[in-house]
Amino acid sequence: MAPTLSVPPLPTVKAKKGSDVTVTLKASLPSGYHANSNKPTEAYLIPLTLKWTAGPLQVETITYPKAEMEKYSFSDKPISVVTGEFSIATKFKVPADAQSGPAAQTGTLRYQACDNKACYPPKNLPVNVTVSLE
């Protein structure tokens, strides 16, 4: 059965106009599975990606988890993966002219998981956070 990346809902984030705010998304994969990191070592592998698609905030940087180099039975050399629990932090800039009040920032987390013998289709998980703008 395909592994599911579990991502708990993000808490509401308070942010001041004109400032920076960091949103940290926590995720976990079941034991025995891995997902490719955001910078896979092979061109054919699908990277872990977080894309923010709509909302009042401007993405400044996305910091992906530190990858592990692991060797699997299907790879001649170690490949760059994430396993277990990991976090992805997004630093946003809050526009000075943003409207006060709650706003939704939405995105998609894309990952492709494997175990030691098989791989599973890439999945897109919707991600959303409520931002309380002051």
């Binding site: 395909a2 492709q112 494997c114 098989a118 791989c119 890439p122």
Partner: protein, 189 residues
């Protein structure tokens, strides 16, 4: 592909695989099933790179290795050179490999991969319907070896063993289709 899971248990059981793993895949060393335990392989209708419609029944009378794979699948990339070898080695004895790609990006992703790997067998673009027919294929590679009578003789989920495939192919190639066996039996009596 997203809907494939819901039919996995029913489908794989129906095809005689028996169990669906809920934990990381262990290699399935699927021996060739006894003749009486084999079930008819589902008919599919898929297109090749030229848009030609291909059915499993087009290979009637042959031993067919049906490989569900994708370009982003590392274990699939290990097995594909084996299948290239098998296609070359056994083609003249009535054997065909058919690769069913489950790539969402279609031929844009598949075509360069086929060139790079020098794939010498038929590649078809898969879909959810075909995956469901074959038991909700989700773990890749998943490979079915079909006998000359169009029945599933063995199923391998995940990276398998080259020798297991070869043993299955050799065994199945030595067995004539039931219709030929029957007529040979009649003529001899």
């Amino acid at each position: 592909m997203r809907n494939a899971l819901r039919l996995a248990l029913v489908g794989l059981t129906a095809l005689g695989l028996g169990t669906v793993a809920c934990a990381p895949q262990e290699p399935v060393r699927a021996a060739v099933k006894d003749d009486k335990d084999r079930k008819t392989a589902p008919e599919f209708e898929l297109k090749d790179v030229n848009g030609k419609v291909v059915h499993l029944s087009d290979f009637k009378g042959k031993v067919v290795l049906v490989d569900f794979w994708a370009t982003w699948c590392g274990p699939c990339a290990i097995e594909i050179p084996w299948f290239v070898d098998f296609q070359r080695k056994y083609k003249d004895r009535g054997f065909e490999v058919v690769g069913i790609s489950m790539d969402d990006d279609g031929w844009k992703a598949i075509t360069p991969f086929v060139s790079e790997k020098k794939i010498n067998y038929r590649i078809l673009l898969g879909d959810d319907k075909t995956g469901d027919l074959y038991g909700g294929v989700e773990a890749l590679p998943t490979t079915f070896v079909v006998d000359r009578d169009g029945r599933v003789a063995s199923v391998h989920v995940g990276l398998a063993n080259k020798k297991d495939f070869e043993d299955a192919i050799e065994k199945l190639l030595e067995t004539p289709p039931a219709s030929v066996a029957k007529s040979a039996g009649h003529s001899g009596s």
